[in-house]
Subunit: 110 residues, 2 copies
């Protein structure tokens, strides 16, 4: 199949999975880290920064944009990308809720 049966899970579970999925490729992790590192927008130097072809980077950027984690603005012939801070914060809350599940009450029974 290759198709997740999303209808049997909660919205929260599907949302977590969607965010996680987009982080599930090192190129997208790298793009995001780069956007965080530099203190301004990136105007299309991601292709030279990361070693992938231009259509490949463009595709990864599209996925990040569709999830709302980055914003892109046309500036002349190039496009300026940066983190969508508001949505990043929202995403972070969702992911932290998942990652910070209470572990203290568990005894190591296995």
């Amino acid at each position: 199949m290759g198709l997740a049966k999303t209808e049997m899970f909660t919205n929260q579970q599907n949302e977590i999975a969607l965010f996680a999925k987009v982080f599930g490729h090192p190129a997208r992790v790298s793009i995001l880290q780069h956007l965080f590192k530099i203190d301004s927008c990136v105007c299309g130097d991601l292709v030279s920064e990361i070693g992938l072809a231009q259509p490949t980077i463009s595709q990864h950027l599209k996925e990040l944009r569709h999830l709302g984690l980055i914003k892109g603005n046309v500036e002349g012939t190039s496009v300026c990308y940066c983190i969508n801070t508001e949505n990043w914060t929202k995403m972070k809350e969702t992911m932290l809720q998942f990652l910070n599940q209470d572990i203290s009450t568990k005894e190591d029974c296995c």
Copy 2:
């Protein structure tokens, strides 16, 4: 292709992507949440809990086990699963480092 070019990324970037990938399916998110929720090990009631077939759940458990996030112990004819708390904590540190990247210095330039 379908194959990520991991050699062009840092170990940290690949590690983040691997963890994120395993969270990238709602069934695995659901399994983990269930293992956290109950205060003891789960002895194979995950199949009835989640609505997927037994081989499918078994496959998802395998992936979680291979990443070290859960432990499984044979108890009679069934297997007892629980969170690997030590590895979960390590994973969390890696993911938090990624999620908590400093956003404060960014002006919304796009």
